[in-house]
């Protein structure tokens, strides 16, 4: 209605909080609040609590119940509940196009007459009927303003009606609006859930008498009928809906299974289901990371061109603080944000296609059985898989999980899955210390360690912090459909923009902060001047060939970078922390490099190169490798890998976790917890390793 169409179904990307928008039609301006989809008001899942609280706490001028017209019987139940509560309702018969395709017929006028509310056929996809719907809402708001709403009376059978008739007058003093009396009486009779949350007019705690009476009636009725009264009420309500549908809906005779059912015989089959899912996930991964690579490369090239261009505003070799701020701080930070955009765009495109085509629900069905045992929800697999590429989009992919507990559990353990930025660290260190034959098994071992720790972590969190039982899992399986392109693109753009706006700004700010830490305080002139003079002299030396001269200048540049870093706050903190990390076999140089790795994991190598005064990059990683081999033992190398695998997540992960969880608490706890875990595990490995090697 507001143009920003929400996704359908009570699964992926569910409206986490109520979305709001504004729409203008003629003389009317509507404030529209979009609530999560739900089948009923009274059961107790998270979605339903949100809807109930919103509907009963706020005074709306009108409530639009968007139903699936192709499954009217299932969707009118909520409308009946809303009408029993006296909500000013307009029913939208959505997916109207599908009804005609399937050959069904719905008597819209009759339905409207029977329920006493406007009913408007719509198609969210083509936008058909939206204008009529808004007009109906506008008219309703004008006509009924300030009036009491006629209530819908569902006949609950002789006994319940008698009890309600008797409890009604008792309930009257407890409710602020008379139309709530019946609802309130039914509610106390049912006895489920705190009533205050259900009705803004109800002041039940003042009526203990009513509750006692209701409890007695309930016991009597349940004894006679042999079933819970809530069940009887729901059944009667459903019977009412069924009788309504019998009058207004003409279903076509269906003999053949639908195309979706036929497709599912293969896609959900016992033997082919999982391999096909694996194939689809492989494609998603390839698309997200392999296809994005040229885009990432192009972006990096563009940015480094920009940096060079900006650097040329100052004289070559200038030590200006502004130059460093703009070129290394700000543009470097922009690079740190931009680098994620291609991956996020493509990932969200894949996720949107999976969601909207209807496959996501089925994937969950296939996986739930296996992941359930690991303490993870069925859809937790997708973020985990994405996590092997990059933790940032992976955290965003947890939006497909329904419950907050599931999301937090998954996000908390996600950094344990080795992202692609860590791979160069592993390979460089492994190749520095271990023979070629050992490298592949060790690399597998590192990845596996991460996965095992993630699974154990998820189980532990589930058993301790997030103990709530998994929400009852009911899901409608939609027919497969072709995802509409414009909606896909809009969704992808919205999510990417949200990333840039929220996490992006935080990443930029942290980048600049970390840059400042690594350059401040600046080297005093009396220390800097001789080094610069030496470099200038080296440039002028005539006794060397051009290449030798360049090499000398490069070496002097590296020394300068090392001295600057050692002098900076980051270098000093690194040195200061060295005693803390000494038991893990890390010296001040490694500690400084680890601090720098908070910017991004791959920065670790660059920092290591700086603190060791060696070159870094494709042509010179050999020298870093040699330098590492000279300074450290294989055990220290392995410990460094372990610490990178488990330890503090990078700042982009931190920022995105802050965005996705909406609080600072969880990202801070995660950073602290993972660092402590990394410290503990690395300590044990290093000490045990040292003992074993000394034997």
């Amino acid at each position: 209605m507001v143009g920003a169409r929400q996704r359908t179904g009570n699964y992926p990307g569910v409206t986490v909080a109520a979305d709001q928008g504004r729409v203008r039609r003629g003389a009317w301006v509507f404030e529209v609040v979009d609530l999560p989809g739900t089948y009923s008001l009274l059961s107790d899942s998270q979605d339903e609590r949100v809807v109930r609280a919103a509907l009963l706490a706020d005074a709306f001028d009108a409530v639009v119940d968007v139903t699936d017209a192709s499954h009217l019987e299932r969707h009118l139940y909520l409308a009946v509940e809303l009408l029993e509560l006296g909500m000013p309702l307009v029913i939208a018969l959505n997916l109207w196009d599908r009804v005609s395709v399937e050959g069904a017929r719905i008597e819209v006028g009759l339905l409207s007459l029977l329920l006493g509310v406007p009913v408007v056929p719509t198609s969210g996809r083509s936008g058909e009927g939206i204008d009529r719907l808004l007009a109906a809402v506008g008219q309703l708001c004008e006509k009924r303003r300030g009036e009491l709403w006629p209530l819908l009376h569902v006949d609950y059978g002789r006994e319940i009606e008698r009890a309600v008739g008797w409890l009604g007058p008792l309930a009257e003093p407890c409710v602020a609006a008379p139309q709530c009396t019946r609802w309130c009486a039914l509610n106390v009779l049912e006895g489920g859930g705190p009533c205050l949350q259900r009705c803004r007019w109800c002041r039940l705690p003042q009526c203990p008498h009513l509750c006692e009476e209701a409890a007695q009636s309930r016991a009597q009725i349940e004894r006679r009928s042999g079933e819970e009264i809530g069940m009887t009420l729901a059944r009667r309500r459903y019977d009412y809906v069924a009788s309504l549908c019998a009058q207004v809906v003409t279903e076509p005779a269906r003999a053949e299974p639908s195309p979706s059912e036929r497709a599912d015989r293969i896609l959900l089959s016992r033997w082919l289901g999982l391999p096909l899912f694996g194939l689809i996930m492989f494609l998603v991964f390839q698309l997200t990371f392999t296809l994005a690579q040229p885009l990432v490369d192009a972006m990096e090239a563009g940015l480094s061109g920009l940096r060079r261009g900006m650097a040329s505003w100052w004289s070559a070799g200038s030590e200006s603080a502004w130059r460093s701020l703009w070129v290394d701080g700000v543009l470097g930070g922009v690079g740190n944000v931009a680098i994620f955009v291609p991956n996020i765009l493509l990932l969200f495109l894949c996720l949107a296609v999976l969601e909207q085509s209807g496959y996501m629900v089925r994937a969950m069905f296939l996986l739930d059985r296996w992941l359930h045992r690991l303490g993870l929800p069925g859809k937790g697999f997708i973020p985990m898989l994405i996590g092997f590429g990059c933790t940032v989009p992976a955290m965003m992919a947890t939006r497909t999980l329904a419950s907050r507990e599931d999301r937090l559990t998954t996000m908390l353990v996600l950094p344990l899955i080795s992202c692609s930025a860590r791979l160069p660290i592993y390979t460089l260190i492994l190749s520095a210390f271990f023979p070629l034959t050992c490298q592949a098994p060790l690399l597998w071992g590192i990845y596996l360690t991460g996965i095992v720790l993630a699974v154990l972590g998820a189980r532990l969190l589930r058993a301790t912090v997030f103990q709530s039982p998994p929400p009852p899992f009911i899901m409608e399986v939609p027919p497969y459909r072709m995802p509409p392109l414009i909606e896909l693109l809009r969704q992808v753009w919205e999510r990417t923009w949200a990333f840039l706006k929220n996490a992006g700004t935080l990443i930029l700010a942290l980048s600049v902060l970390l840059w400042a830490l690594s350059v401040w305080p600046r080297l005093p002139t009396r220390q800097l001047a001789p080094l610069l003079r030496e470099r200038a002299a080296a440039r002028e030396r005539q006794d060397l060939t051009g290449e030798q001269r360049q090499q000398l200048v490069r070496e002097l540049d590296r020394t300068l970078a090392r001295i600057k870093l050692e002098h900076s706050l980051m270098g000093r903190v690194g040195q200061g922390l060295a005693p803390v990390f000494e038991p893990l076999g890390f010296d001040g140089k490694i500690t400084t490099a680890l601090l720098g790795a908070f910017v991004a994991k791959e920065v670790l190598l660059a920092q290591l190169a700086v603190v060791h005064s060696v070159g870094h990059g494709a042509e010179s990683s050999l020298t870093l490798r040699e330098s590492l081999r000279q300074h450290y033992t294989p055990l220290q190398g392995l410990c460094l890998i372990l610490f990178c695998l488990i330890g503090t997540p990078c700042m982009a992960t931190f920022a995105i976790f802050k965005q996705e969880s909406g609080t600072w608490k969880w990202p801070l706890l995660q950073a602290a917890g993972l660092t402590a875990l990394a410290y503990g595990i690395t300590l044990v490995v290093y000490r045990l390793g040292t003992c074993l090697l000394n034997l």
């Binding site: 089948y39 009923s40 009274l42 059961s43 107790d44 899942s45 499954h71 019987e73 299932r74 139940y77 909520l78 049912e190 489920g192 079933e227 819970e228 809530g230 069940m231 729901a234 059944r235 309500r237 459903y238 809906v241 069924a242 279903e251 269906r254 059912e261 599912d264 959900l268 089959s269 016992r270 629900v361 969950m364 069905f365 739930d368 059985r369 359930h372 069925g378 998994p470 009852p472 899992f473 009911i474 899901m475 409608e476 399986v477």
Partner: protein, 78 residues
């Protein structure tokens, strides 16, 4: 028998719900009340189930399927 243990492809009738109020109401809102008939399409054995009911297909979690008592119905009835 429990829905979670039934064989796929059969027409089943819901007999009883072994559960608290919340679940019963949630199912009843979908029309899944004692006496309702549906086909078990696939699943079971420690996993979720997929049922086909009045033109809609629904996935029910394993925990839920274990608490729904069913019997064979129609031509599948013993």
């Amino acid at each position: 028998m429990r829905l979670g243990r039934a064989a796929p492809g059969r027409l089943l009738e819901l007999v009883r719900l072994q559960s608290g109020l919340g679940l019963a109401q949630r199912l009843a809102a979908l029309g899944l009340v004692p006496g309702a008939r549906f086909t078990l399409e696939s699943g079971g054995r420690r996993g979720p189930v997929l049922i086909s009911f009045q033109g809609t297909r629904l996935i029910l979690g394993h925990g839920m399927a274990e608490r729904i008592m069913v019997r064979l119905a129609g031509k599948d009835a013993p």
